[in-house]
């Protein structure tokens, strides 16, 4: 269980949250290759807009530049990364080794995930690992950080500090288990949580009410995940094809109701309203804006939402 008053890594994200500010994170997906320029462009687009940026780890099981390398490039460029790590592709030997490498490269936030199954990616024929699940990865990293011991009990040479995150999906089933799973992640070491993208606000409020009833908001920082819809087509596609994401008809109709060229703007308006809505939900400590391949909108979104300038602590 995370102590909200103790500094775990002293990362910018942790300091912002612990100073009581409403935190803002976004996503920064690495290139499908070694294209540094692509990454640099994204870095420049989000600079100054967020407290930290999540660097995804081969998201949707599509091969990209490693999250450690891309995170280190963000560090070099003065943007704080939240390095995502999935257990799909690495066993506990690689996970612990990568953790040390990441820390040595200046990475101070880490999001522990199981990862999308490889059948969704571009190498469905690959063998997966899943030596650990996301909760066990949290436990392994927390044990290294707090007890200086590897998973086998060996002592670690030199300490590491890491602000530890996990994901939560309030929209998957069974619904009643979702808060239990959140509690397990906190017990396993999660200091902060970033949720799956929220469209069904009523269900999210119910999830947060259950979480607050269990006191979970006092034990970790919960950032509400939001994804702007570029078009009605994207909304319908996500609703149909992404398990664990439900987009209410009213939202799809709303986006569909405006002219094609205006749908992106309507999506952003909706997002701005969602940011206001989640700010008012008890227990929400920030937003995680996943503008999927739409990083050029992060500045506009954070500006119009009144989230700029970001606090300097």
């Amino acid at each position: 269980m995370s102590d909200k008053n103790l500094m775990m890594s002293g990362s910018n994200l942790e300091r912002v949250l612990k100073a009581g500010h409403f935190a803002v994170t976004c996503e920064c997906g690495p290139p499908k290759g070694a294209d540094l320029e692509y990454l640099q462009t994204k870095i420049d687009l989000i600079r100054g807009c967020v407290d930290a940026a999540n660097v995804t780890d081969n998201q949707t099981a599509v091969v990209r530049m490693s999250s450690i390398a891309a995170s280190a490039i963000l560090v070099r460029n003065g943007i704080e990364p939240v390095m995502q790590m999935v257990t799909r592709d690495r066993n506990r030997i690689a996970a612990q080794s990568d953790l040390f490498g990441a820390y040595a490269l200046g990475i101070r936030n880490m999001l522990c995930l199981t990862g999308d199954h490889q059948t969704f990616g571009n190498h469905p024929m690959a063998k997966n690992v899943f030596d650990l699940d996301s909760i066990q990865l949290l436990d392994v990293v927390r044990t290294i950080r707090d007890l200086g011991a590897l998973n086998n009990g060996d002592q670690v040479q030199g300490g590491i500090k890491m602000f530890l995150g996990a994901a939560a999906n309030p929209f998957a089933d069974p619904f009643e288990f979702r808060v239990i799973r959140l509690a397990k992640k906190i017990r396993a070491g999660a200091d902060f949580i970033q949720t799956q993208c929220i469209y069904d606000m009523d269900r999210f409020r119910e999830f947060m009410r259950m979480a607050c009833d269990m006191g979970l908001d006092k034990q970790c920082f919960i950032l509400a995940g939001l994804t702007p819809l570029k078009s009605a087509g994207m909304a319908a596609y996500m609703n149909r094809n992404v398990a664990g994401i439900t987009i209410p008809d009213t939202i799809i109709q709303r986006i569909r109701g405006v002219a094609k060229g205006q749908q992106g703007e309507e999506g952003i308006r909706l997002l701005l309203e969602q940011i206001q809505e989640v700010r008012e939900i008890p227990g929400i400590a920030g937003v995680h804006i996943m503008a999927i391949e739409w990083e050029e909108k992060v500045r506009e979104i954070t500006e119009r939402a009144g989230l700029l300038p970001r606090p300097q602590i």
Binding site: R88, T114, T119, D131
Partner: protein, 227 residues
């Protein structure tokens, strides 16, 4: 049982193209029950091969045999004797991979080929449908999960609850065909009044008892010493 699927006919035919006298051996246990490698399947494969080679005007001798279990030496000894006596050139076995290996270890210079693809440890759910139920991990954890195994039946082998891809009781990997095992576990523990156990953290599993600890064997000392 160990479940298997017949290999594509052309693949099996390809294995034996260059041999003249071929023995097809069925197994009377698992692959008989899952209708992949019993007496009937041996007959069908043998007939098919005779017809196929006949159409190409090639004469081959395709022989048939069936044993109760290809994973016990006493059952396969007669086949080994037959292979020697009748000067058989090659064997196709319709047993699981265990049968292929067990024979291969004992066949000397006679080649053996698999006639089925061994798939999983499963059960016959309804006529014509078999489903995976056990992964043979060597350290059964189902006491914690209402008797339902997430190692075998969760696409990600998750031990601490369902991922975000569980929707309406189905697994996102193949919603039409795969149950979310964690939904099944949740429902079962709820019915048993043991839902609170789901709050327990299952620590990282020790996979040494699975094949990750190297090739496995089991010794029952009371029996082994007798030998």
């Amino acid at each position: 049982m160990i479940v298997a699927d017949p290999k594509p006919f052309g693949q099996v035919k390809g294995y034996i193209e260059n041999f003249e006298k071929i023995l097809i051996v069925g197994c009377g246990t698992c692959t008989t029950v899952c209708l992949a490698g019993g007496k009937a399947e041996v007959q069908m494969l043998a007939s098919g091969l005779r017809i196929a080679f006949g159409r190409e005007n090639r004469s081959k001798t395709i022989l048939e045999d069936n044993v109760q279990r290809q994973c016990d030496e006493e059952f396969i000894l007669p086949v080994l004797a037959r292979v020697a006596d009748e000067k058989i050139d090659a064997i196709v076995t319709l047993a699981c991979g265990v049968g292929v290996n067990f024979f291969a270890d004992r066949l000397g210079k006679v080649p053996i080929f698999p006639g089925v693809n061994t798939t999983f440890y499963g059960a016959s759910v309804e006529p014509g449908l078999w489903a995976e139920m056990c992964a043979g991990c060597g350290d059964c954890i189902t006491a914690h999960t209402g008797g339902i195994c997430p190692v075998a039946r969760c696409s990600k082998h998750l031990l601490n609850g369902p991922c975000g891809g569980s929707e309406k009781g189905r697994c996102e990997v193949d919603p039409a065909n795969i149950d979310c095992v964690w939904q099944l576990i949740y429902d079962r523990l709820k019915a048993l009044g043991r839902l609170e156990e789901l709050q327990d953290l299952l620590p990282a599993k020790d996979w040494r008892t699975a094949s990750d600890g190297g090739v496995r064997r089991t010794i029952r000392e009371n029996l082994y010493k007798l030998k």
